[in-house]
């Protein structure tokens, strides 16, 4: 079984090498051909021609955290569904009902989320 995973590792390494070579080659050539590598105006972050006002890394709307948390919950749910779907033919009615209850409990959560307006963006 492990032998099947060796090509995956090789592919990951080759993809990383590809990215590294391209980045190295491109930034080397670009640096070499650049006329003013350290021009201050060129290296300021783009802000429609203004000088940057403040540090960019600012506080953000809490809803983005909420989306991330809900994503974790649903991702776990999917992780539970995968082995179930694969073993569907073996676990019979009992497994079907077990998953039915599992999904029903989580649909309650989903409806709660919906009614509370956690999915609204404005």
């Amino acid at each position: 079984m492990l032998a099947n995973y060796l090509p995956v590792l090789i592919f990951l390494v080759i993809a990383a090498v590809l990215a590294g070579v391209l980045l190295g080659l491109g930034s080397g050539l670009g640096r070499y051909l650049s006329r003013a590598p350290n021009d201050a105006a060129k290296r300021t972050p783009y802000e429609c021609g203004f000088d940057a006002f403040e540090d960019t890394r600012m506080k953000f709307d809490v809803r983005y955290y909420l989306v991330a948390i809900l994503f974790i919950v649903f991702d776990l749910e999917i992780a539970f569904l995968f082995p179930w779907a694969v073993a569907l033919s073996k676990i019979g009615l009992f497994g079907l009902v077990a998953m039915g209850i599992f999904l029903a409990i989580l649909v309650v959560g989903f409806i709660y989320e919906w009614k509370k307006g956690a999915l609204e963006w404005d």
Partner: protein, 355 residues
């Protein structure tokens, strides 16, 4: 000559063979991306009654085909500007992190009945987890650049990708319930027997959900608010130039091809032939068209790529709240309902579960 090549080939150890295939796939993918950018500009040009690129030629022939290659040279020669106060390491790491998953996922795609680089049992799970890793390139690019537009674009994009990944995962659960295996080759094989026994027939809602989620995952129009030019300039890669920008571009287009390939594999029978059993027996052409091969997978990928471009040329961009609404309130409920429908069908041995 050919015989000696094939003896040398079969004498090679397994890992050398797969390394050779990996290199072939990587190179083919890069060339496909180059041609896809040209094809995109041509198709959108035709839809908008323009010509598209038609100046740069290869060897004085084929007007326009030289364009992507000229672009590659240009991007390689341009300077990679690292903004002041940017986090240098992460700024350079981000494009690599976007590119690696877009390429490495191809390891498990069954390209033809015989050819799959890594025939692993948990192939689908591998695809899903690499897709979810792809979001790091975007988040880091936005954060490392220390630019407000980049940061806003990255946050939008991350929340959007995350929302559609759930819909995508649920749609794939539906596929698994039919095929009973996580191995992509087996998923294709369980669909054999003509276009009506492919998964799209019984899983039509999931097919649509999967493709729409794929559009959103790749940040393609009409879901491209992450780079919405009119609001946040170019989103997470505003500050990127030269080859670093090109890597994001390469990753995005490789992901488009990947989503097209995955849609064909999961719902449209991968390398299976749609004409299987519909043509008269005998004759080399009929045999070729009826046999499962890479030709059919390639053709299906091409059709879905065209759909990507067609959608881009046709639809205006969604607003952010509309995107989130579509993901959470439309696509996820559809997938949940269809999983319930499949549970009932499998219990009653209807459709793909009929024995």
């Amino acid at each position: 000559m050919l015989a000696s090549v094939s003896t040398v080939w079969s004498a090679l150890p397994a890992y050398a063979q797969s390394t050779a295939w990996i290199v072939v796939i990587t190179v083919a993918l890069i060339i496909s991306v180059a041609l896809l950018t040209l094809w995109e500009r041509k198709v959108i040009g035709w839809i908008q009654l323009r010509r598209g690129p038609n100046r740069v030629r290869i060897f004085g022939l084929l007007p326009g085909v030289g364009q992507p290659f000229a672009d590659v040279v240009k991007l390689l020669l341009k300077e990679v500007i690292i903004p002041v106060r940017a986090n240098k390491v992460l700024f350079v790491l981000a494009p690599a992190l976007a590119l690696i998953p877009a390429f490495a996922t191809w390891a498990v795609i069954p390209l033809s009945p015989e050819l799959v680089v890594a025939n692993i049992d948990a192939g689908l799970l591998y695809v899903l987890s690499l897709t979810s890793v792809g979001v790091y390139g975007i988040i880091l690019a936005g954060w490392a650049a220390n630019s407000k537009y980049a940061f806003l674009g990255a946050m939008r994009s991350a929340a959007q990708i995350v929302a559609y990944e759930i819909a995508m995962g649920f749609a794939l659960v539906g596929v698994l319930m039919v095929s009973g295996s996580l191995n992509l080759g087996t998923i294709v094989r369980t669909q054999h027997g003509g276009p009506l026994s492919w998964n799209w027939f019984w899983l039509l809602p999931l097919t649509v959900v999967y493709f729409i989620s794929g559009l959103a995952e790749t940040n393609r129009a009409p879901f491209d608010v992450a780079e919405g030019e009119s609001e946040i300039v170019a989103g997470f890669h505003v500050e990127y130039s030269g080859i670093a920008f090109a890597l994001f571009f390469l990753a995005e287009y490789a992901n488009m091809i990947l989503i097209s390939a995955l849609t064909s594999v999961f719902f449209f029978g991968g390398w299976l032939s749609p004409l299987d059993g519909y043509l008269p027996e005998g004759g080399a052409a009929a045999d070729f068209l009826m046999a499962p091969s890479f030709f059919w997978l390639g053709l299906k990928i091409f059709v879905f790529l065209f759909l990507f471009l067609w959608l881009r040329a046709t639809f205006p961009r969604y607003r952010y709240d509309q995107i989130m609404r579509l993901g959470w309130k439309v696509l996820i409920p559809i997938t949940l309902i269809w999983i319930a429908v499949e549970m009932v069908m499998s219990y009653n041995h209807v459709g793909p579960w009929a024995t």
